[in-house]
Symmetry: C2
Subunit: 435 residues, 2 copies
């Protein structure tokens, strides 16, 4: 427990563990080069090496999908469907852009959301099937209207993909699913192979090799969603908060990985004590107890002098997830300036947003919440500006452009307007009408 | 002139010149390190070295601003004011986000646009004062509500900043203006010095040193707007288009720099011939004739078989600026899937968008238009998600979360919900009401 830390300590108190993948750079570069040069052959070879399986095919077949759909537990199917509808509803509303406007009579300007044509989604493998991430990446891609959606995920040692992943991808309409993982999957999507189409932007989480691969291909021109670090939660609590819920929420972050960041900010010393007690009690019942224990070793329990002090510290830290379960949670939420996603009140655990409330769970870590939000529809489209100027319009703003272009010594910029104005004057004199 | 290029030639035909700044990396790294370690002292020293002037102060004083405001040509002031109002109007409308919604009864979710607290704007020096870029970066920053806006621009050899830049910055309300340019300015904003505040995100164009510095600090956690390459225009024309206007528009791009990309796509061979003739005629009258001539040496005049073919080629190239001055320009514009900003009809020169129509002139080059749009309000805010779930809400979606969390083997995620559901059942049985 840290009591009333002075500002001079904040920098250190809120420093994340340094993530330096640079030692992996050469290994990952070699994988990228190999895939670029050898295409599918490299993917078969690397999958044998890293995933311990000799594949017949990189593509998931229709039969495999049908099997997954028919075998998956109906209860899980229904839960995924519930989540899907909420996520769809929340993301669909984000597609709106303001309509056309006249900035000056005759000068019509507008924005249009144009989908990114080709996107690639990466779903990590590992001990658990991250089908929720299929929802979070796939639904906005489909809603945006991306024409070509490619999904890559590593096969298990029998060459299979978890049925929950296949069911979810199929449910939302993703057809191109490939059995390839790690940095080789990122390379395949960035460069294209005989089987896997080259895409324009890659989305999705992954281990340090995947992160390094994403960073390297992004320097070569393939767009990426964001650079992801260890997951984080900060909770703001007061003496009215429920320590049992606080403990459950802290643990649900801690179980992600040994480097997960767990912070409790509160104005009540008593709540810290009770929450720690509850954490200990609940920890024993967790299958992932060991991981959570490691993460909790660097957890921070911080007592603030008052609400102002608490808000300032949280904004300084800029957490990925922020749970506010104080009595005045709505008031405090108004003052948050840096957080990825905010969970309000006693009945809003972070896991609601991880799975089913509708908001996206792909969020900025490592302080990036200072400058960016979580994944949303904006990440799957380009907002392209259009403008259409009438004769009357160029007559109205032409001289401003001429004067500014001349002052910036760009005379051809000026001429492009002058030629048009001259023709108008030749044709109409000063009698240009607004149509 | 290239007639009906087959698809197999497109890749090569639309390849941009390779921009490889890696040879600058060490030089720029040294500048960054120096500024990080020595702060203001490094800035004074580097400004003497690179800008040939010994400064007394890094900050622009109120007196300098007052002088600029009083001496600038009133006509230019008025033109800047016209542009400002249009840019403000167009960008202000982009601030809207969808209101709160219930994705499921009792599950309330919403997005909120929160300004990035501290932003830095870089305005390059050189032969001309780029006050238009002050408008394009500064207006959205102010509209977004960014609390701390810092502007850096290199001084001339007398230690002065061009009055048009100072007037414009002052007009839109930017107070912190510093006389520092190049990679040292990027370093100062990324790390902070005694005088220059550390910011979270850097915006603005610049030469190759500035670009390299932005890339390097972005790898260290400072956000940047985009990676900018040489400027580009593509024009789509048919036999009804005006060759005089086409030539003027091509030249207004060519005068930017010797590496500017200039392309004409048309279904009419005759228009190519007439446009080339017009380019030659207008070129002679340009002060920046030499630069434009160099750029034109690699200009491409491409004859398409028909509209479909023309649209496909343009989307493949993904130009920064696209002028469509065919008779059916509105129809063609509907089919554009990759461009930074689109200019429609005979009276809409690119220079309108560069200065005064209202759209932003900071746009994606080098094919980035496939995945991103130009600068807009989204770049100055974070869209943060909020959710507030009532008792009734968690009762409605709780079991879906529990089932999904269990299937992903994240049991603490499940527990965070179960604990809440249990308390509700203990208190109310199944009689949880929607409030």
């Amino acid at each position: 427990m840290v009591n009333h830390p002075p500002k001079s300590d904040w920098e250190k108190l809120f420093t994340r563990p340094l993530i330096d993948y640079s030692s992996l750079e050469e290994t990952v570069r070699n994988v990228l080069e190999k895939v670029k040069e050898e295409g599918d052959m490299a993917l078969f070879e690397l999958t044998k090496k890293f995933d311990n399986v000799s594949l017949e095919n990189l593509s998931v077949t229709g039969k495999e999908i049908a099997e997954a759909v028919s075998t998956l537990d109906p209860k899980l199917k229904k839960a995924i469907q519930t989540a899907r509808l909420n996520i769809e509803k929340f993301h669909k509303a984000q597609l709106q852009v303001p309509g056309p406007m006249e900035t000056t009579p005759g000068v019509k300007c507008w924005q249009k959301s144009i989908p990114i044509e080709k996107v690639g989604l990466y779903i990590p493998g590992g001990s658990a099937p991250l089908f929720s991430t299929v929802l979070m990446l796939g639904i906005p891609a489909v809603l945006a209207g991306c024409k070509e959606i490619t999904l890559c995920t590593p096969p298990d040692t029998e060459g299979k993909i978890n049925p929950a992943i296949l069911f979810t991808a199929n449910l939302i309409g993703i057809e191109k699913i490939f059995k390839v993982g790690g940095s080789q999957a990122i390379a395949a999507m960035a460069y294209g192979t005989e089987t896997i189409p080259k895409i324009f932007k890659i989305f999705g989480p992954g281990n340090q090799f995947v992160s390094m691969a994403k960073e390297l291909v992004s320097r070569q021109g393939t767009a990426i969603d964001m650079v992801a670090g260890p997951s984080e939660v900060a909770i703001m609590a007061d003496e009215t908060s429920n320590p049992e819920f606080i403990a459950a929420d802290l643990l649900s972050q801690a179980e992600h990985g040994p480097d997960s960041q767990v912070l409790l900010f509160t104005t009540s010393e008593n709540i810290v004590k009770q929450s720690i007690k509850e954490v200990k009690a609940q920890l024993d019942q967790l299958p992932r107890k060991e991981i959570a224990t490691q993460a909790l070793a660097s957890a921070r329990f911080i007592v603030a002098t008052d609400d102002d002090n608490m808000v300032e510290m949280v904004n300084k830290y800029a957490p990925e997830h922020l749970i506010i379960c104080t009595e005045n949670y709505l008031q405090l939420s108004e003052r948050i300036t840096a957080a990825g996603s905010v969970f309000l009140g006693p009945h809003t655990p972070e896991s609601a947003g991880d799975y089913a409330s509708g908001t996206n769970h792909t969020l900025p870590t490592n302080g990036y919440a200072r400058t960016q939000g979580g994944l949303n529809m904006d990440n799957f489209v380009k907002k392209v500006t259009f403008q259409e100027i009438s004769e009357y319009g160029i007559f109205n703003i032409g001289s401003a452009i001429e004067i500014m272009a001349e002052a910036e010594k760009l005379n051809a910029h000026k001429t492009a307007v002058s030629k048009r104005l001259k023709r108008l004057l030749d044709n109409f004199g000063n009698d240009v009408q607004h149509k």
